[in-house]
């Protein structure tokens, strides 16, 4: 069977599963719609959280990013997992004890202020909408690449499927679909990794294979990769390159704090029955995430190793050592058609050279001794690494079809979680909380569904016509989560003295400083050409990359909130009691 037919069957079968689950898990009350009736088993909730969190970026982009960064790619691995420690220890159990439906609701109640709730809703909407654009685009790209249909067709099918299970099932439908999506995603990610690990190292476990020797040799895989890269003028894979140690540190911290502040992940902990389940669920979520995140470095390194050895099968410098263009493998032809891979035979020797021509010493030597006239790969999109990996390794078509279904599952599961966070903040926080406090449960549920449908249409539209700044805004989304939501939530639980004035001032300063710093380097509201400073290291304040500035915003939020609170009136008695009750799982009777 050809790849296209096979892909249609595999992707179609997964869609049938999602829709079947939606029919079975229809939401009947606002509690089921927002938090699945608080009745989800903690292990299953961990699985759903993992699918919710791992987006198209984790599934498709991360390993490719690591392949080209090497060691410093660890910032993404540690950042996107370490945030769960913060979430599990500092937020999840307490917010579950609080026992309401949304993140802005906690902020509004704890700081006894409608203004605080509205500021939180605005942060939540900016974060979630930014995120959802990328997911819808991911769905469209995965479809169009593999099923060879138009981007729009792929996107509409994705929207239709999400519409069915998210609008009718609410959180309940989304949760059970996400569990199925996790299984598909993890299977699709690990199967090719296992095959490739066996091919390269003889060990079926990628995490062990990466630290093992090459099959039938005494050389370690990583040592061989280090040497090959250095022979071609690159930095060794296992050492610092691509970003400075300071920015690796700040990026890791920003991703951790940002992760802990993401509202669509936090609300997943509202769905379990008890406080102790929220703790346990966070552990299982990270365990399920860890399976993919510890496999990703193996996928990245092995993809890089395979790629270089395809281009440079012989000795570096040997005129016969490079790939003959005419004989290049099928996967290259396939990705050339998409425009994501491109080359140019600069020295017209009919062969391809991939090396670091930005290393002046090596480039000069290569030109003089080997007759190389520059790196001949004009384009290697990092995102193709995971999708091309099974093809590079020559794996059967059903594996390639499975990877497509996995990529789509990753994007859909995250999109659904985000859409729920968006719709609940509109129907519950804005409508019921601010504008129509007397709305009946039935009408609130209807409003939630309409908000969800509206959010899907908006997300689809933006996915199809992404603002030119979509990629830049991701830094903003994380920065906002880190600078506004995380510190405010944490202080709400751990610092009883922080009051309304402090929280609002802290959030605004955190938000404004992060926005200002990002706009200074990326342009006002991301309009190209309006940036005040060029976005390069020498202009950054203390060398801090705008992506990592959320950390500074978070610190400013903490300082301002604390300072303002200590010169204004302490929170009222009933709020102090609320904080004390949130801190214990059950109010003791003895």
């Amino acid at each position: 069977m050809d790849l296209k037919t096979l892909s249609f069957i595999v992707v179609g079968a997964t869609f049938a599963i999602y829709i079947g689950i939606a029919i079975w898990a229809r939401a009947g009350s606002t509690s089921e719609f927002y938090v699945a009736g608080k009745g989800i088993n903690p292990v299953l909730n961990g699985m759903a959280t993992a699918a919710d969190w791992m987006s198209a970026a984790s599934f498709i982009s991360m390993a490719g990013l690591i392949a080209f960064l090497g060691f410093t790619g660890g910032a993404y691995l540690m950042g996107w997992t370490g945030g769960y420690v913060l979430m599990a220890l500092l937020l999840a159990p307490y917010l579950r004890k609080f026992g309401k439906f949304t993140v802005p609701e906690f902020i509004g109640d704890r700081f006894y202020s409608r203004t605080a709730r509205i500021v939180a809703v605005i942060s939540l909407l900016v974060i979630s909408i930014t995120y959802v654009i990328g997911q819808m685009r991911g769905v469209g790209i995965a479809f169009s690449n593999i099923l060879e249909v138009e981007l729009a067709t792929g996107l509409y099918s994705g929207m239709a499927v999400v519409f069915i299970y998210a609008v009718f099932g609410g959180m309940k439908g989304i949760t059970y679909t996400q569990i199925a999506q996790y299984v598909i995603m993890i299977f699709a990610y690990t199967v090719p990794a296992v095959f490739i690990a066996i091919q390269l190292t003889g060990n079926p476990i990628p995490q062990i294979g990466l630290g093992g020797t090459l099959a039938g040799e005494d050389t370690y895989l990583l040592a061989a990769l280090d040497r090959t890269l250095m022979d071609l003028g690159f930095a060794a894979y296992t050492t610092v390159s691509g970003m400075t140690m300071l920015n690796m540190f700040l990026l890791t911290l920003a991703l951790m704090i940002g992760t802990a502040g993401l509202p669509h992940v936090i609300i997943r902990f509202f769905t379990v029955p008890r406080v102790r389940d929220a703790r346990k669920s966070a552990g299982f979520a990270l365990l399920f995430i860890g399976i993919l995140y510890t496999t990703a470095p193996a996928v990245g390194a092995m993809a890089m190793y395979n790629f270089i050895n395809t281009v440079q099968p012989g000795e570096v410098g040997d005129p016969q050592g490079n790939l003959v263009i005419e004989d290049r493998p099928d996967w290259m032809l396939r990705w050339e058609r998409t425009g994501l891979l491109g080359f140019e035979d600069k020295n017209e020797d009919g062969r391809l050279q991939y090396y670091n021509d930005r290393n002046p010493e090596f480039a000069a030597m290569a030109e003089e001794e080997f007759g190389w006239e520059g790196n001949e790969f004009t384009r290697i999109d990092r995102d193709i690494m995971v999708l091309a990996n099974p093809q590079i390794a020559g794996l059967p078509n059903w594996v390639i079809a499975l990877v497509a279904a996995g990529g789509i599952a990753a994007a859909l599961s995250t999109a659904a979680g985000l859409l729920l966070a968006i719709s609940s903040s509109i129907s519950h926080d804005l409508l019921k909380g601010v504008f129509m406090p007397r709305i009946s449960e039935k009408r609130e549920l209807l409003a939630g569904r309409i908000a969800m449908a509206g959010a899907i249409l908006l997300a689809g539209y933006l996915g199809l016509n992404p603002p030119g700044f979509a990629a830049e805004v991701v830094a903003l989304a994380f920065g906002l989560a880190a600078a506004s939501l995380f510190p405010t939530l944490m202080m709400g639980i751990f610092f009883k003295r922080v009051n309304r004035e402090g929280a609002i001032a802290g959030m605004l300063v955190g938000l404004a400083s992060t926005l200002l710093y990002i706009f200074l380097f990326k342009g006002w509201f991301f309009f190209p050409g309006t940036n005040v400073f060029p976005d390069t290291a020498e202009y950054w304040l203390f060398g801090i990359n705008p992506t990592g500035f959320g950390v500074i915003g978070a610190i400013l939020n903490f300082i301002v909130a604390y300072a303002v609170s200590s010169v204004t009136k302490a929170p009222p008695e009933h709020i102090q009691r609320l904080v004390e009750e949130v801190r214990v799982p059950r109010v003791g009777t003895s």
């Binding site: 370490g82 890791t252 346990k280 990270l286 860890g290």
Partner: protein
């Protein structure tokens, strides 16, 4: 012990546990995985240079263990201070 003192003691025990676990969280990821990674690369686990292993494998395993340990330890504390759920 009054209920109020008991709750305060529970909270202090919780904060102590958080302090220890977050110290480990910081040392393993930012310490061993980033700041000290380069000198640590002189050692290795199999084919993994040690600093590289902490940045791309070890820190993730540590995070998972930390959360499960926290869960177990908090359940013990909940019972000890009689604030556990049904």
């Amino acid at each position: 012990m009054t209920q109020e003192e008991s709750r305060a003691a529970y909270w202090r025990a919780n904060l102590r546990l958080l302090g220890i676990l977050l110290a480990i969280w910081f040392v393993v990821s930012f310490g061993l995985g980033i700041l000290l990674s380069q000198p640590l690369n002189a050692f290795s686990i199999g084919g993994y240079p040690l600093g590289f292993w902490f940045a791309q494998q070890g820190s993730i395993y540590t995070f998972i263990v930390l959360i499960f340990f926290y869960t177990w330890r908090m359940n013990v504390l909940d019972r000890k201070f009689d604030v556990h759920e049904e």
